[in-house]
Point group: C2
Chain length 308, copies 2
């Protein structure tokens, strides 16, 4: 079985949407990535850090999904990373109410020996130096390194970010971040600039407007499934990335052609993630409903024009 | 050959975008609809009105595209409808600088006898009473009546708009307008509400984010082609509608399955329209480049996941 190494936050989130609010619940990029990837036939491990306030119940959830958490460090007396946000009425924009780094401030990722030959490495949104450290610990060049990042690192650690970007194969980034990183408004032009920075594959996430995959002159587009209700967008991007990475690892095929399928699988899983608060929907997700919705993706986009 | 009746404005536009500005150039919904529909094998006629300031050159252009303009009324001493707008940097929003109705203020559409049995009727954005008058003049029930409208009529003539909506088959509307018309944020819910108002088919245009086609429980999505440059979005929605209507008329097939193809053809033509100011690109558009771009649409969205 292929190995997928996941590095990212494991966190507490407190979320407010127009539909309700939560106390501290399970969140974090690595959590969403791991839950999504667990839909595929892959050995995955999470490298991350939490405090000893992190409930056993959450650890058990990850383990129950066959995620190796032996490198999820638990800091005695430490507090788990905490993020709190409030979504606006359109759910497309949000205000961050609190970011408490806590144990994440001194996070030094240690890749376990049995994952130093991982086939696919998924670097969740973290300080670029932390992401770089993981790449340097790999003993065998992974088939694919995927990196997610955000505007915060562009604002504050651009040099470090540009360095790590040189060493990866796929970047996942949202549309506004792609524009910020490149100074190009056209996403086609932005992707060309990002190719020049290193990544052979560029995934631009547009939230409810879908996702674009760029490779050389090729463009593929996956829509987001139009939903009756979007309840909580938190973790949708990470769920997308986890589905993308998990599918590529499980199929052992990192070609552009297969990456199109990976984008569809990622979008499919993200469409579930937003239906309930936090990880609630992903936690209980079953193969049958996942397959059913893949059919919906197919009917949503496939057409039959005879081309001359 | 099928007959397509087009009712809408024929106008002067003055446009300012981040890339430049124009003096008064050829514009109007019926103009863009007619030019797009002329890509298909269909007999079309435009019912509209202009002043005697409207240049012969523009009339000749329409005629050269085999559009019947015998019911394009020319008012002696009248001035042609004029719209002027300035696009913001993102090209997604614009300010209207001037709207001079002129001869449009007293426009009384007269459907020519030889188009009272048109197969498809495309009602461009106009006062709902004007749209209704056209429907009432048809001697034979058209296979399909398509209506485009905008927020202005929702604000000012909602009762009249709701009445005409009862009598049409397809409405094309943008996402914000769908939300305004229904009070639903979710486009899936908005489409359900609009179905209840009459139209069996709802097309929601999302500009650079593509277009959705709704019919009962079915949803189809066509992306907009990601472009290196978007030069001028004016007329993109009408070009889309013209391609949609023209394809359906030419293929004499108004089923949902064929409407998917029509949405792709409409999106394809709109992707050209935005590449130059006004009608410049559509005027010179050739079959070969249209077909080539259809291939791009196919590679943009088609994927090969084996479904179980």
């Amino acid at each position: 079985m292929s190995k997928l190494l996941i590095v990212g936050t494991v966190a507490f989130d407190a979320i407010e949407t127009p539909f309700g609010k939560t106390d501290k619940i399970l969140g974090g990029a690595a959590t969403f990535i791991g839950l999504a990837a667990s839909q595929f036939n892959v050995d995955s491990a999470i490298v991350s850090v939490v405090g000893d306030d992190f409930p056993q119940e959450y650890l058990d959830l990850l383990t129950s999904k066959n995620i190796d958490i032996s490198s999820l460090e638990i800091i005695e007396g430490g507090s788990t990373f905490f993020w709190s946000g409030k979504y606006h009425n359109d759910l497309n924009t949000r205000d961050t109410l609190a970011t408490e780094l806590n144990v994440l401030a001194d996070f030094n990722p240690v890749v376990p020996d049995n994952f130093k030959d991982a086939d696919v490495v998924m670097l969740g949104n973290l300080h670029p130096n932390t992401q770089m450290s993981v790449i340097q610990q790999m003993e065998q060049k992974p088939k694919l390194i995927i990196l997610d990042t955000m505007n915060f690192w562009m604002d504050n650690t651009l040099t470090e970010l540009m360095e790590v970007i040189k060493h990866i194969d796929v970047i996942t980034i949202n549309d506004e971040e792609a524009r910020q990183l490149t100074g190009e408004y056209s996403l086609v032009k932005a992707a060309i600039r990002i190719h020049e920075m290193g990544p052979k594959y560029v995934v631009i996430k547009k939230g409810e407007h879908g996702a674009l995959l760029f490779h050389d002159d090729n463009i593929f587009f996956a829509p987001a499934l139009p939903l009756r209700e979007v309840f909580d967008p938190t973790g949708a991007g990470d769920t997308f990335a986890g589905g993308f990475a998990g599918y590529l690892a499980a199929t052992k095929n990192v070609t552009y052609e297969n990456m199109k399928n990976a984008v569809i699988h990622g979008s499919n899983l993200a469409s579930f993630s937003v239906e309930k608060f936090g990880t609630q929907r992903m936690k209980a997700l079953e193969r049958g409903e996942v397959n059913k919705r893949l059919h919906q993706f197919k009917t949503l986009t496939q057409f039959d024009i005879e081309l001359s």
